[in-house]
Assembly symmetry: C2
Homo-oligomer: 416 residues x 2
């Protein structure tokens, strides 16, 4: 890969991508789904080769796990392609319209951002996902997956090129690249051709991209997510939400890591800890939790800041909703939090004062999810505040234009 050439090719392809018809884009998504199904064996083989190489290189188990792209994951990507095909085309959507007193019709119309660079570790499924999101939203994509996934990604890139070419779209609209770290660093300086960088992966990767990039970055950082059990909450609801938030998918970023319990609810700590244990969750607790329940490991200051991504939970007793909010804003990662409460006023205070992308009342943190919240699907979860916060779907990959329809209006008085 030559970074500048890749970026220029993407920029050139982006003009056509922006103007491509919905039918054309959907046909390419459909063909990609078909090719993925037809080439299942080749994809599995490429992934097996990547896995073998990674194991031989002594890569850590969690990386090996993320690298795995088996039958089930392929099926899930095919479903995802069909889902994105079915979503409305965001390009050209008029999302605001205001007739002005002078007769001007002031509208805002969604347009693609242009060229989007995704940098991610392992996870070949992102190569399918991100390509599909960028294609549907009329953006050109440069997809740079981890070098561990090189063979599988190269094959997926070839399938994308076919799907684009056979539908009359420019092959460079989705470029799957490998290339050295130096070439990636050079990509991050192509601000003249690339409009947005989305890094996904570990904290180190994201911070390195942010530090080196001359292009705007939307970060997808970790999730240290909380559930707070408020004074007077229904305890069976609270336990159900806590178990769902922790146990359903412990390895996702919106899984709960810390449960906060109002002091007045401390009598329920044994039941809470018992429920966690019954589901195989190891509990670490503050002093009050440990005093209330035998055998709970101590939680250190570090625990409050830790994204376990595992069947571990830390539990802390706090004075009240205000203390819970303070804990979350201090130790959390501004991702996803939930309050379980019967109090309307404390619910309103919690959603107002907690500084996180997604704040739920009486709901599981698992609902920080594109499909659950009506966005169809998501390409990621932004932990930034600018442009897009929280779930990023098709709309969040768009910019807009002010389009103003007139009939000869001018501002000044110019006589005849």
């Amino acid at each position: 890969m030559d970074a500048e050439q890749t970026a220029k090719a993407a920029r050139a392809a982006s003009a056509g991508a922006a103007l491509a018809g919905t039918g054309q884009k959907n046909a390419a998504l459909r063909l990609m789904a078909e090719r993925l199904a037809a080439n299942r064996t080749a994809v599995l083989d490429a992934n097996a080769a990547d896995l073998a190489a990674a194991k031989e290189a002594g890569q850590p188990p969690h990386l090996i796990e993320r690298l795995r792209f088996g039958e089930k994951k392929i099926e899930s990507r095919i479903r995802c392609l069909r889902k994105i095909e079915a979503l409305p085309d965001p390009v050209g959507q008029v999302f605001r319209s205001d007739r002005r007193p002078n007769g001007l019709e002031a509208t805002r119309v969604r347009v693609p951002l242009g060229v989007i660079l995704m940098i991610y570790e392992a996870r070949p499924h992102v190569t399918v996902n991100a390509g599909a999101f960028c294609l549907k939203s009329g953006n050109a994509a440069i997809l740079r997956g981890g070098s561990e996934a090189r063979q599988c990604n190269a094959l997926l890139g070839a399938l994308w090129r076919e799907a684009l070419r056979e539908n009359g779209l420019c092959e460079d609209a989705i470029q799957v690249v490998s290339g050295s770290h130096e070439e990636v660093d050079r990509l991050l300086r192509q601000a003249a051709y690339i409009d947005l960088v989305i890094p996904r992966g570990g904290k180190g990767l994201i911070q390195a991209v942010k530090d080196k990039s001359a292009i705007p970055v939307i970060k997808h950082f970790e999730g240290v997510c909380h559930v707070y059990v408020d004074d007077g909450a229904d305890i069976s609801t609270a336990i159900r939400i806590a178990i769902d938030s922790k146990c359903l998918m412990p390895a996702v970023c919106n899984a709960m890591e810390t449960l906060l319990v109002a002091e007045s609810m401390a009598d329920h700590l044994p039941a809470i800890v018992e429920a966690f244990r019954a589901h195989g969750v190891a509990v670490r607790g503050c002093e009050a939790t440990r005093a209330a329940v035998p055998g709970v490991e101590p939680a250190t200051e570090d625990d409050w800041r830790t994204e376990y991504l595992d069947m571990i939970v830390s539990v802390r007793v706090v004075a009240d909703a205000g203390a819970a909010i303070a804990h979350i804003n201090t130790y959390g990662s501004h991702h996803t939090e939930s309050i379980v409460t019967d109090s309307e006023s404390r619910a309103r205070r919690f959603v107002r004062e907690v500084d996180s992308a997604v704040v739920l009342v009486n709901g599981s943190t698992m609902f920080c999810d594109g499909e659950s919240l009506g966005m169809g699907a998501e390409i990621g979860i932004s932990t930034d505040k600018l442009h897009a916060r929280g779930l990023m779907g098709l709309e969040e990959l768009m910019s807009y234009k002010h389009v103003v329809w007139g009939s000869g209006q001018v501002m000044g008085e110019w006589g005849a």
Copy 2:
């Protein structure tokens, strides 16, 4: 000024600013308007001192002009403060709401970005304007005007502190700072405390801020704006729009710099040039324009890229709408363009294919203006695509939160 201390103080103030009531913020805006009126003489004196120093330092005339903050400008700032007071409070606005099949109510609620740093040259009126926008939108502001405007800005900063303090708001919510270039560079590295930088001024300033900033930047670049007179357009409408776009306020960024004329409309070139000359505009033209009208100076390649901000226009004959679009996308600055046409299909093509923040059909480029387009007022005009494009009003200074209201929903099946 100590950069880190300033940034930390702004961050600390931002929490209170975000939660401040509408009445409290409006009272501070009202008091600022009153104090500005009451301290008119002191403001004029401070500005006179700045002007004298700038003249003595041999500053160029256009900078002296922008530095001037006379009676009329003070009046206009007082009106602006009252206008912003009257605008709806964007904090807490629910701008999307979707009841999901499982009963969850998924909403999006506007929240402030946090801390906004404005860096601008001269123009003391920005100190009033930007402070008011940030206050109303619940953000904390750090305002760093040009050192030429130091005395006037220091006085305006003191008035802001009074207006905040007397209404129970933290004084640090609007900090007007001076400080060396080195301190500004240090400010630009305070990404832990500052959420957004908005530079306003010359290309050099904006590029320097962009290059040095570790904080996201929304650029306010120049406007090389166009009007295109399409085949078959009503010529008197076209001339009226061209004159309004060029002559009403030639020094603003949305003033037209180049008029493009369809070949089939070349017979009207003498009338067009005559109209410009009658309004005191010097015309530079392409070969075809010069062949059609005697005495037109030649336009060079450079002219097509020049923001005159003056009573000068360049005129170019182009084959058709496609050639006009190509010229605009090649030479323009993606700011504001207008087509004068009777053709619905060519109007639709123009608004779709021109890659600019504001695209008008049969309207003057002067309407790239917050009030004209129903936004109340604007803090600036973004030439970026991310977060905010074109006019930036209160809403564009906001982020949002996903707030989800449930009644005990979980995603998994957990039995009794």
